[in-house]
Point group: C2
Chain length 188, copies 2
Amino acid sequence: MIRTDVNLLTYIDTLSQKHPDYFLVERYHSKEVILEQDKRYQSLYIIKSGITKCYLSDENGKEFIQEFLGKGMEFGELEVFSGNLSFCSIEAISDVDVYKISHNQYTELLENDPVFNRLILKSMATKIGYKAPRHSFQQSYSIEDNIIRMHQIFPNFEQVLSKKDIANYMGITLRSLNRALVQLEKGK
Amino acid sequence: MIRTDVNLLTYIDTLSQKHPDYFLVERYHSKEVILEQDKRYQSLYIIKSGITKCYLSDENGKEFIQEFLGKGMEFGELEVFSGNLSFCSIEAISDVDVYKISHNQYTELLENDPVFNRLILKSMATKIGYKAPRHSFQQSYSIEDNIIRMHQIFPNFEQVLSKKDIANYMGITLRSLNRALVQLEKGK
DNA sequence: CTTAAAAAAGGACAATTGTCCCAACTCAAA
DNA sequence: TTTGAGTTGGGACAATTGTCCTTTTTTAAG
């Protein structure tokens, strides 16, 4: 549930030495918003270290968490292809280091570096393939089943993520999450 | 809610004339399964005409519809990058014509045809960006709101899709869908 | 034309989840 | 050290959605 892409990060570590002018390293502190929904950006980011959440917020201020992003995950890249405004917000959960690269230089790498191109294609394929089973499972099974499953995937998520974030990730209310946790305790 | 990609289809129409040996045209009839979950394939498809559904099924046989795919949408392409088994099934809703191309030749085009490469990147970016707001909306709003929204996006979806498919797309039961439709009728 | 199967519609009840509260606790800022 | 905001936990009730079942209508096959 916290996505990573070590291969991409490793390659970008290398690239950033070959092209030190392409990649700017930035640091964000916990709770800082790195990217804001419905704004226009000319750069995108790849996470060097730390954890962020990627979420959409609706008119009522409710936020729906799409993914938790860790090492090697990129964000803000979709806008290179669509030309649209950012469609989600990204907020640092822990302190976070990122590589920042402009749309233009990213495009240039995509066009001239076949290895980079392939890694990006693969990372996008993974993103697509990952969402489907998750939402499918979330819709088809009970909240308790979902918690059990998340424990299998990432045993100590409760230490890293707040209850509120977990609830928003699951698309349920905090109340429902608490209720399910109590039930699970009883069941042991 | 029925996804299309006209630019990609147009370009592939052209490509298939330049490389008639790359693209095989196949026809499937309504209700035929074109691609089956958890099987290995060495080819992928792009829809020339018609509508398909892309769905995951769980142990209990329930199916969760991810997308309805129309003209210019590709499927089976994720497995080129992941090397995994197909993670969803594709079934023809109407009669469907598709281009079929092998993984190898697809990869070759990706590597040697920059226009094609860019179109695929863009199509993947669109797929990623499309799912998030949809699931967010589905989780945050009532079934009735979701039906109203689907009507705005695609006014006559009830003529094209079965109630069962619509319910599976929304991640709800047929009973709940019917109830919501009755309520909407009353509200007019 | 007949018949079987699938699709559509809905009643009755149970289970799940949300809403609206309030209370306890933590932690950082003043 | 106090204040207040944010997090956590849970009671009580309402609303939503699911399950199970039956009936009618439509569609496709023989």
